[in-house]
């Protein structure tokens, strides 16, 4: 359902060409739960942004449910994103002026769902994340874990086929991180496909499939199984260090990616 073939992303400035992704190949099947790990600046977020059609790519082919993304206009990509993809961010990205109900309502409004249906879906999602009684609260009245659960509820409300999570537990303590992870696992068990970028090796081990992004490319993850994640991480660090020395990736642009 998600297929990337030789996808590349180059950030071009006057003097520097930064390859955030190079010949990136990935196929994701329906119902998978994939953890994407890799060192900082390796291109994980760039991959996630391209997967979510928040960024364009420079080369290669990206198909989502058989639709060639490169052929779509910006507005068509936004509509497709709205229908098929849910986002969960490290910083939650809730809109501070809107209460929980209204925050979850945002993607549903853009989809043109009728008011009664919106209300029903929002109530369902809030109950699912255990915050039904706080629908009128503003985000700043909640803890970090609760805010992330709201963000998950918002992502789920549109019933997306894909959930893209960028460091969903990055701003949470370990207890809350576990709770969020359990929620994601539950969502995956119900059929949603999840791609999660994380630095947390423990969380990554809990997912059925792990991929490593190193220097903008997929590492040969068949060599590394869940039990060897630390070794993978060490290897990745050494590999990117040596790659940086040889490549034209500047430290600042790498951190952007």
């Amino acid at each position: 359902m998600l297929s990337m073939k030789n996808v590349s992303k180059v950030y071009q400035t006057e003097k520097v060409q930064t390859h955030a992704l190079r010949d990136f190949n990935l196929d994701v099947s329906e119902g998978e739960f994939i953890a994407v790990t890799g060192p900082s600046g390796s291109g994980k977020t760039t991959f996630l942004n391209i997967a979510g059609m928040l960024e364009s790519f420079t080369g290669g082919t990206y198909c989502l449910d058989g639709i060639d993304i490169a052929t779509l206009s910006d507005n068509a990509r936004a509509d497709l994103r709205n229908q098929k993809i849910g986002f969960i961010f490290q910083g939650f990205n809730l809109i501070p002026d809107l209460n929980l109900f209204e925050n979850i309502e945002v993607p549903l409004r853009y989809r043109g769902i009728k008011s009664a249906e919106r209300k029903r879906r929002i109530q369902d999602c809030l109950e699912r994340v255990g915050l039904a009684s706080r629908s009128k609260h503003l985000p700043q009245q909640l803890s970090g874990g609760q805010q992330q659960r709201v963000a998950i509820a918002r992502a789920l409300a549109g019933k997306p086929r894909f959930l893209l999570a960028d460091e969903p537990t990055g701003n949470l303590d370990s207890l809350m991180a576990r709770q969020v992870m359990e929620l994601l696992e539950q969502i995956n068990a119900e059929g949603s496909t999840i791609i999660m970028v994380t630095h947390d090796q423990e969380l990554a081990r809990r997912t059925p499939r792990n991929i490593q992004v190193v220097d903008g490319q997929l590492a040969d993850f068949t060599l590394y199984q869940n039990n060897n994640m630390d070794a993978v991480a060490n290897k990745s660090v050494s590999s990117i260090t040596s790659a940086e020395a040889a490549s034209d990736v500047s430290p600042s642009s790498a951190s952007e990616a």
Binding site: T45, N49, G52, L54, E55, D74, N75, A78, D79, R81, N82, Q83, F87, F89, Q90, G91, N93, I95, D97, V106, P107, R109, Y110, R111, G112, R154, G158, D166
Partner: protein, 442 residues
């Protein structure tokens, strides 16, 4: 979605109340100033009698000897002599049943006093004209009507008074048959006109285009019998001994206006043919020495343009006020840029959640439209204040310094349109922002 955008705009105003108030105030001041000058310009330039402005024609005759110059573009005086006015007035022009209506008119004045001690005498300007004047210029009656043909022929002392004078003298009651004293002559009231709502005194531009209309109307025949003086302009082009009233009537002095109602192109043609023949006849009688006859008939709007009722200064003033509005909008544009770009992270989230560029653009356009609407409404208040100031400062503009319904409706539209223009660039800038940049940094 529109209601949702309105809701978002309202939340945005509440989030930054000070900036919002500054922007609304800037629009309000810009619109207020613009609408003040535009309203005056609009009233000056509007068609004073739209239902028949193309049927009423001012008549000009060139009765000067060759070699004499007038200050108009085509060397034609705006007024005509008494003898021409009366000759044209009495001429039977047009076919039976379709006679051309026409009237001479000029301005005189009296001291008005009543046979009672409670009303102090006062001076009032008076229009001397024919009985068809009222019908031709759509001056309706509250009581009574115009004097009869017989009364006009016999120079009977009859008068039509205005609504406001009737209010002043008789408290608005039906005053038909009552008598008022104009100087030392008793005049019987035969008609009371309704309020005459014209802003430009187009039928007589020689005494100030924006002066008030007269409150007294009497038959033109009284001009000779009462030897009435003119309160208007008298122009001449050659030296003449004018010692008596009769001398003036016989002279080549130009001091009457003349209007004809020509309902069709055929009537215009007939009337022009008559004027041509009349001037030829007068020339052959040795009244003036001209090789070619020259005359003109101009409809109301052409007449206003010809007399430059709306001066270049007025147009420049309107232009300057629009320039001021542009300066206000430039400031608003800057404030909007700052406000919208500060919101880019939120827009990044909305884009990630499925908002397309068009939706983001529309959201911001609705916000600037609301700013414009609020500014426009406040601007109407400022414009009213400005117009009040004009009325207080210049009595001459008192009838013009008002906002009619079209200007009231136009003000918010101009404000909204201006704000949309100013807000397009900031809205476009924020909607084309790459959302991914802000999602990680929020």
């Amino acid at each position: 979605m529109f209601i949702h955008y309105v809701d978002l705009a309202w939340r945005s105003f509440k989030r930054t109340p000070l900036v919002s108030i500054v922007m609304v105030s800037a629009i309000a001041v810009g619109i207020g100033i613009t609408m003040t000058s535009l309203s005056v310009y609009h009233m000056m330039s509007m068609d004073p009698i739209p239902s028949k402005s193309d049927k009423l024609f001012a008549v000009q005759l060139n009765t000067m000897d060759d070699g004499n110059q007038w200050w108009t573009d085509d060397n034609l005086p705006q007024q005509i002599t008494y003898k021409d006015a009366i000759a044209l007035y009495q001429a039977d022009i047009g076919q039976a049943g379709m006679k051309i209506r026409k009237v001479p008119s000029t301005r005189t004045g009296f001291s008005v006093h009543m046979d009672r001690s409670t009303t102090k005498p006062f001076l009032e300007s008076t229009r001397l004209t024919g009985r068809d004047f009222f019908d031709m210029f759509e001056l309706e009656f509250e009581y009574g009507g115009a004097w009869s043909t017989q009364q006009e022929k016999s120079a009977a002392p009859v008068v039509v008074i205005s609504h406001s004078l009737n209010q002043k003298l008789f408290g608005g009651a039906n005053s038909i048959g009552k008598v008022i004293n104009l100087d030392e002559t008793k005049f019987q009231i035969v008609g009371v006109t309704k309020h005459w709502d014209i802003h430009t005194k187009y039928y007589d531009l020689t005494n100030g285009a924006f002066n008030n209309t007269e409150n007294l109307f009497i038959p033109v025949s009284l001009l000779t019998t009462m030897e009435l003086p003119t309160w208007g302009n008298t122009n001449g082009w050659k030296f003449e001994e004018v010692n008596t009233h009769q001398d003036k009537l016989n002279s080549e002095l130009l001091w009457l206006q003349f209007w004809a109602e020509l309902d069709s192109h055929e009537q215009v043609q007939q009337f022009e043919n008559y004027l041509q023949a009349y001037l030829q006849e007068q020339g052959s009688l040795g009244r003036f020495d001209r090789r070619a006859q020259q005359f003109a008939v101009r409809d109301v709007n052409t007449w206003l343009d010809y007399n430059r009722v709306v001066s270049q200064d007025n147009r420049i003033l309107v232009g300057l006020s629009f320039m001021f509005l542009i300066v206000c909008l430039a400031n608003i544009l800057g404030l909007l840029l700052g406000k919208f770009l500060k919101r880019a992270p939120e827009i990044g989230v909305r884009r990630a959640l499925g908002a397309n560029k068009t939706q983001v653009f529309m959201q911001h356009l609705v916000e600037v439209s609301m700013l414009g609407l609020f500014g426009g409404i406040a601007g109407i208040g400022i414009a009213q204040l400005g117009l009040w100031g004009v009325r207080q400062s210049y009595d001459y503009y008192s009838a013009l310094a008002t906002m009619d319904i079209s200007m009231l409706v136009a003000a918010p539209f101009i404000a909204v349109f201006s704000c949309i223009l100013a807000g397009m660039y900031p809205a476009w800038l924020v909607c084309k922002t790459a959302p991914a940049i802000y999602l990680k940094t929020q």
